[in-house]
């Protein structure tokens, strides 16, 4: 019997880590859209990265890493649904549309464009003041709608409506930006 010590090359690890760094935020967003729970989404993405690393030998580096990872995450998500006996909240058509959206973000960056987060920052600055304040209070300030409403001197329904309009405006801005 011959004994061998087998190790993965360090530079491949570095390569993988760099890809993880580049993609993890997008993947976290993706996993959260699927699972609707932050801690579950983080777990899904972590598990998926580990699964990917264990199968790194099989990955063709010329292909889209993000797309490959999202496939793994989808599988892990489906498994989680089965395990938790949850209802699937997303049909195949929606999943496909979501995949296309994520791929758009990705392709734009690969073309040398800014990440979607940088785009988002630029779009936030363009929001009307009233919408901007609602977004700041609820998403960035960590306040619940009712609390934010109190702080803004509004009622909860108004704040919710403003947030909805803000999201719509940001969507539009991102689309314009990605398409540009």
């Amino acid at each position: 019997m011959t004994a061998e010590v087998i190790k993965k090359p360090k530079n491949r690890r570095e390569q993988f880590s760099a890809l993880a760094r580049e993609h993890h935020l997008d993947l976290l967003v993706y996993a959260r859209v699927l699972s609707k729970q932050e801690h579950v989404s983080r777990d899904l993405v972590q598990e998926s990265f580990v699964a990917a690393w264990n199968n790194w030998d099989k990955f063709d580096v010329t292909r889209d890493f993000g797309s490959w990872m999202r496939g793994i995450i989808r599988n892990k998500w489906r498994e989680w649904i089965r395990r938790e006996k949850r209802t699937v909240s997303m049909d195949e058509e929606t999943l496909e549309a979501l995949e296309l959206e994520m791929a758009e973000w990705q392709s734009h960056r690969q073309d040398g464009g800014p990440s979607v987060f940088i785009q988002l920052e630029s779009c936030l600055k363009q929001l009307p003041e009233a919408l901007n304040r609602a977004v700041k209070e609820c998403y960035y300030g960590g306040f619940a709608t009712e609390e934010a409403a109190q702080r803004l001197g509004l009622n909860g329904a108004t704040v919710r409506k403003r947030l909805e309009r803000a999201r719509g405006a940001l969507k539009q801005c991102l689309e314009n930006g990605v398409n540009a």
Binding site: S17, G71, F143
Partner: protein, 685 residues
């Protein structure tokens, strides 16, 4: 260009808000650690079978963590770029196979396999998952007080929808055989244990709760199920949290509803212990209001009261989150007000220190005796606290422990009281490291309690987890009234621990009981042998406190519990022979025995526990003749099951819950029960 949907925007904003689009370093660090562990596991000496056999990357199972196994499954609609399963067996032979989810069905779950944090043993992905670490400090699945291998029942992954109420949680390797879909006495409705209660557009998605699995019915005639063993608990955070949700009109998340905490929030009139033990055990049996054919057993454990003047000296360190998010009126200001109640109870023998964390940790108040002058100084320091900055890392908690050690009172109450509205980025990263720290410090005599405030970022799961490890309690404070209750009444009591490592073991009479079910305590279950294991850490009981638990019992009717399964053609013995060889049981009048194990507060892990036992007979009465406390407590239990959409609620309804609560209201000097009745009104309308 496809439209981004609203959900995507929502998550994008949340993610951006977390880190301003910068890398999530905590996430990446956690990932790197996992990858390191994978690499360490892979860097094994591999053997090859012959010189001519080309070695694949084989992994010897042995030294590092145990056998590694990665799996996934391939969707029919998915392309082959999905994950691939690589299975490595102990011989170092590399196999590649795809597995469908069918692999989960009836998968062998050897007791020798170590469950992961969730208590699941059928998932063996990699070494680091087998001893799984949460992916973030915020993740904590089912936590366990007690044996690290004790776990709640596992949920199977059936490939068909169940048509009858399912008692089938799959192979519960720790607690006996899986049951099938027998529906003894239960109303037939489609089970929906974790009905997906998506927060949807509500903005309280930041709250994190660990998933709870309900206990199933158990057969006391089976060896593996003859005992029900659990650790006691006096946390009350779940009720306060649920109350807040109902009062603010938010949909209650089922996993936020911990039945035992809901029931134990309220005071019950148990008589004081009289004998040598610091507890009295009280039981009451009546028909189950939501399943008339069943019996309901209430077990109450009452701790001995102590005279306030006799309480030991206290050394308290308040570790306060003064980050920006704490500025709202229901957080830091409320915390300050609540603390004034506690200060009323302390005297010049006691010491209070204040450590803050927000960006950089710091000592806001050096250890100060609570004399008249000292009390003013403490209040002044509290007044000067203001929130600002981010809840960044610091050595806050370590500083707090070092302060506590400096003023350690031997034989006294040494405690860190952490006040926060969310995540604990307090100098240690990850729930595991934090849990390890508080556990070690608890062993050395400094306990940790947590006061939770606010909503939206409440890390309920982590708070509960670390207080269990820290031998402390977790409270959720949403009003000055609650603050007063917790800090003036509850905390003083729990700070004076009258016994620790308190475990309860209940044995039901198989001749009278076909099956029993413990309501709640799902993440506090212990193995039967843990009851006698002095090294198993369990809950504490403070002076004057009580612990209440409910069992639902299906009376014996001559037939065994569970599905009738024909013997295999290969078996030598028939089912009748097997049944006739079952152990004989004594004819006794008692319906059950409650056994308690506990240690004195100063006992060490190696000290023996003290045991005693109390038996109870069933008088056969209906719930209508039961005590007010029984009715009210059962109303709380039923309400909890309704909030969780539990199948075990049987014929229960909000109307019944209301009736029970009203009939059980009693004197209600603190108006707690009236408040609960109002919550029922609100949630049921």
């Amino acid at each position: 260009m496809k439209q981004l949907n609203d959900d995507v925007m929502e998550e994008l904003l949340h993610e951006h808000a977390r880190h301003s689009g910068q890398a999530d370093e905590a996430f990446l660090e956690e990932l790197e650690r996992k990858l390191d562990r994978v690499e360490a596991g892979n860097a094994e000496v591999s053997t090859v079978k012959s010189k001519k056999w080309k070695p694949w990357v084989g992994v010897a199972a042995a030294a590092v963590v145990g056998g590694l196994c990665l799996y996934t499954y391939q969707q029919n609609t998915d392309n082959s770029e999905g994950d691939i399963i690589a299975a490595y067996d102990a011989a170092g032979e590399f196999r590649e196979r795809e597995e469908s989810h069918d692999a989960f069905k009836g998968s062998s779950r050897s007791k020798s396999k170590k469950p992961n944090v969730r208590g699941e043993v059928f998932l063996e992905e990699t070494a680091d998952v087998a001893e799984r670490r949460p992916s973030s400090p915020n993740f904590s699945a089912v936590k366990v007080i007690g044996s690290s291998s004790a776990s709640p029942l596992e949920v199977p992954v059936p490939d068909v929808d169940l048509q009858t109420p399912s008692l089938d949680f799959g192979d519960a390797s720790e607690f006996g055989d899986a049951w099938g879909a027998a529906s003894e006495g239960l109303n037939a409705k489609v089970p929906h244990f974790f009905a997906q209660r998506n927060a949807r557009k509500q903005l309280h998605r930041g709250n994190q709760y660990s998933a709870l699995i309900e206990n199933r019915f158990q057969d006391p005639s089976l060896e593996a199920q003859k005992f029900s063993t659990f650790a006691v608990d006096v946390d009350t955070a779940s009720y306060a949290n649920v109350r807040r949700m109902i009062q603010t009109g938010i949909e209650v998340q089922p996993d936020a509803v911990r039945l035992e905490e809901m029931v134990n929030y309220f005071d019950y009139q148990y008589a004081q212990p009289k004998g040598e033990h610091p507890f009295a055990v009280h039981t009451e049996v009546a028909s189950s209001p939501w399943n008339e054919g069943h019996r309901l057993v209430r077990v109450g454990i009452q701790g001995k009261d102590i005279v306030r003047a006799e309480r030991p000296t206290s050394n308290l360190v308040f570790l306060l989150d003064v980050s920006g998010s704490m500025s709202s009126t229901d957080k830091l200001p409320l915390l300050k007000q609540s603390m004034t109640y506690l200060l009323e109870e302390l005297n010049s023998e006691d010491t209070v220190s204040i450590v803050v964390y927000a960006g950089a940790e710091g000592v806001a108040l050096e250890p100060t005796k609570v004399s008249e002058v000292g009390r003013d100084k403490i209040m002044q320091a509290m007044d000067q606290l203001s929130s600002g900055g981010s809840t960044a890392g610091g050595a806050g908690i370590k500083l707090a422990y070092s302060m506590a050690k400096r003023n350690f009172v031997k034989g006294g109450v040494n405690r860190i009281i952490l006040g926060t509205d969310g995540d604990f980025n307090v100098g240690t990263t990850g729930t595991d490291e934090l849990t390890k720290l508080v556990k070690e410090e608890a062993k050395a005599g400094t306990y940790l309690s947590v006061l939770g405030f606010g909503q939206g970022n409440l890390n309920d799961a982590m708070m509960e987890s670390i207080t269990n490890s820290g031998n402390g309690n977790y409270y959720y404070i949403d009003s000055i009234k609650e603050g007063r209750k917790v800090l003036l009444e509850d905390m003083m009591g729990t700070m004076v621990t009258i016994a620790k490592d308190v475990k309860v073991q209940v044995a039901f009479n198989p001749k009278q009981v076909k099956a029993y079910r413990l309501l709640g305590y799902a993440n506090r279950m212990l193995k039967a042998e843990d009851f006698r294991n002095k090294k198993i850490d369990a809950g504490e009981i403070g002076a004057g406190h009580s612990v209440t638990a409910f069992y639902e019992v299906i009376p014996a009717d001559g037939s065994p519990y569970g599905p009738q399964i024909d013997p295999s053609p290969f078996e030598k013995k028939s089912a009748e022979v097997k049944r006739s060889e079952a152990p004989e049981f004594k004819d006794m009048e008692e319906l059950l025995f409650v056994k308690l194990a506990y240690k004195q507060p100063e006992a060490t892990v190696n000290d023996e526990s003290t045991y005693f036992q109390v038996g109870t007979k069933d008088s056969g009465r209906g719930w209508q003749e039961s005590s007010e406390d029984f009715k009210f407590a059962s109303s709380v239990a039923l309400s909890s099951m309704l909030l969780r959409d539990s199948e075990h609620a049987g014929g229960g309804s909000w109307e019944l819950a209301r009736q029970l609560a009203n009939e059980g209201k009693g004197h209600d000097g603190k108006a707690q029960r009236q408040e609960f009745i109002q919550l029922i009104e609100r949630v049921s309308n």
